[in-house]
Amino acid sequence: MAKLIYNRRRFLGTAAATGAALASPAYLRRAAAQSGGEVNIWTYNNFVPEAFKEQFEAETGIKINIRLVDDQGKQFNLLAAEQPNPTVDIMTVAGHRFLQFIDSELLAPLDTDRLSNWGNINPTFSESDWATINGHKWGAPILSGMEVLSYNTDYVTQEEAMTWQTLFSEEYANQTAYIIQDMMSIVMLMKGYDGNMVAYMDDPDKAAAIVEEAKNFLIEHKPLVRKYYDSGAEFQQMMINQDIVLGHSWNGPAAALINDGFPLGMTIPNEGSYGFVYTYNIANNAPNPDNAYTFLDAILASPEIGAAMTKASGFISTYKGADQYLTELEKKSTSFPEEQLANLQFFRAEANELKYSLVDPAVEAIKAA
């Protein structure tokens, strides 16, 4: 594969031409790079920066086809339906969903030797325990996120937002929103249980009782919630329209609002919360595997690209040194005080089968109640 190089002059030319603030390198030597073809990517909105896409296409001749996804489950089902001849080369799987994709033989192991820029990823993400399964790496970590309590600073104080209980208080009745599936894990954590359910893998009865308790809690507090939502865009819209002043959200959509100047704050409450990492993965039987590796190596080429992804999505970059390319406001919107970060733990996949066999029916019951 062609060696990636860094070329600031070319980057500046492209950036000026596109009028984008994104800073990114030239990815490939032009002579060697005109390999052509295409690479098909399923990913979330803004996960492939537009300026990077334009430059990559211009320099490699490889056309990037993006299909937006907003849900890990939908992505799984689409890919499962398409196997063994998928139309996708690269997907965006959350680290804690790896097992499900691997068990169904939907992902190809990642050959990190083909990625000369693999070392640009912070080892906290690239070498953590969830990143290696069955002796293989399965994805390149690109962005990390977490479940946070977001609040309109004009109406809610940070002190109030330091506990998940505020989300269920009468004071903010019908001014709150959350994603039920995610809240099930958080409510378990609030009540002192392991929301990953790894601790109850050998005790399914206890796991069922805990899920039942969390379910009953959410049903009991159902009259207080304004909306169960699914996507970050819905959350942003409700905040902007002031339909809600407080809500559980992913940090990405919340940070994007903060960067736009909306009076929003976010916390990792004292009871704790969960974090997750988005990774780019190569599909099993991908139609364009070489182009997929070219794309992956290019997008990992510099911290500026990581910063651009953070700016666009609001999620935290996994690239070393990406924060150097963020403004003070962007840094503020994508960082948390140490004492809050201490409350954070990552989602884990080991007990997913047990967990979701209990949680999914509970979610249906809450919606139906």
Binding site: D71, Q72, G73, K74, Q75, F76, N77, A80, A81, Q83, R97, Q100, S104, E105, N174, K222, V225, R226, K227, Y228, D230, E234, Q237, N241, Q242, D243, Y356, D360, P361, V363, E364, A365, K367, A368, A369
Partner: protein
């Protein structure tokens, strides 16, 4: 009409040599083309079959095909089939619905909503259709219909967002009420059965309006005039003349709106709240949730399809009986 090739050829040879030089002229003079035309237009029955072939093919591949596939998936225990898994037929997916009362609430809620919203749509659109058919001059009727069609030039999602802009806390309705001094704090219209109802009525209004307009437009003015001459007041004329004679339009409009309302997904998701979860959302959940849940989703969709079909059949029968009763 049958194609008379010899006449056409004679006509051409008599005077139209310019036509022979055009593509169509050359084609019409081409032997195989003549043979094909003779074959296809030999009898009215054959002409009908040729004309009907495309619509039939369309219905089979685009309508019945997906439904049959859905039915097939609903009877399997795994779909999509994961590697190493053997697919077998089962009725468990249907049993899951009847065996778990969790799913009954959104199911009956959907049918109730669809019934109520259909009635609301009828009440709202009937006066509009009546005005259009009876009080707008013929030459202006098409213009009015065109104006009513304008919102349909954009998609369902865009129109749903328009409702959100109207009904949000910072939306036009709340702003107007606040400006008029009628409220201090915004009324939370959004994410309730009210906002969902407004959205669905708005989106389905035209499906009710057109059959009603069609029925009312056919109604002779002389009937109402005769009733008036006999001393019937406006309400009596409407109740005894206009309404019975437009039952067919009401029946068609209600059936269309009811069926569409049972299948709405995006509008309830965007406009509805925690207590308005409809069955389409439950079904969608089985397709979104990662895992082997497609067959259950397909079974639930089949159940809703059959329920809607039964309800509309009963409704149509009732309307037919009503029509017969009125005419007897």
């Amino acid at each position: 009409m049958t194609y008379d090739a010899s006449t056409r050829r004679d006509g051409q040879s008599a005077g139209s040599t310019a036509a022979d030089r055009t593509f169509w002229g050359r084609l019409s003079a081409w032997g195989p083309y003549h043979a094909l035309m003779r074959l296809t237009t030999a009898s009215p029955r054959r002409q009908f079959l040729i004309l009907a072939a495309f619509p039939i093919l369309w219905v089979l591949t685009q309508h019945l095909g997906p439904m049959l596939q859905m039915l097939r998936v609903s009877l399997t225990d795994a779909y999509p089939v994961a590697p190493g898994v053997e697919q077998s037929f089962t009725l468990d997916n249907y049993a899951r619905f009847f065996g778990d009362s969790i799913f009954w609430m959104p199911f009956f809620r959907t049918l109730t909503f669809a019934g109520v919203f259909t009635f609301c749509t009828l009440i709202i659109t009937y006066p509009v259709a009546y005005f259009l058919a009876r009080h707008v001059s013929r030459k202006n009727q098409m213009l009015f219909l065109l104006l009513l069609l304008i919102p349909f030039w954009v998609g369902e999602i865009v129109r749903t967002y328009a409702i959100m802009i109207l009904l949000g806390n910072t939306g036009a309705v709340n702003l107007a009420l606040k400006t008029l001094g009628l409220i201090d704090r915004p009324i939370p219209f959004m994410y309730t059965s009210f906002s969902m109802g407004v959205g669905i009525v708005y989106l389905t209004a035209l499906y009710m309006l057109l059959p009603l307009y069609s029925a009312l437009e056919k109604l002779p003015q002389s009937m109402n005039e005769a009733a008036a001459d006999l001393g019937a007041g406006a309400w009596t004329r409407f109740r005894r003349v206009s309404l019975p004679l437009t039952i067919e339009g009401i029946s068609s409009g209600c059936t269309l709106v009811f069926l569409i309302s049972t299948g709405f997904y995006a509008t309830p998701v965007l406009l509805g709240g925690p207590s308005t979860t409809v069955f389409a959302e439950t079904i969608a959940g089985f397709f979104h949730v990662a895992g082997d849940e497609w067959p259950t989703g397909a079974a639930f969709a089949t159940i809703m399809f059959l329920a809607a079909l039964i309800i509309t059949t009963v409704f149509q029968r009732l309307m037919k009986m009503l029509r017969k009763g009125e005419s007897a």
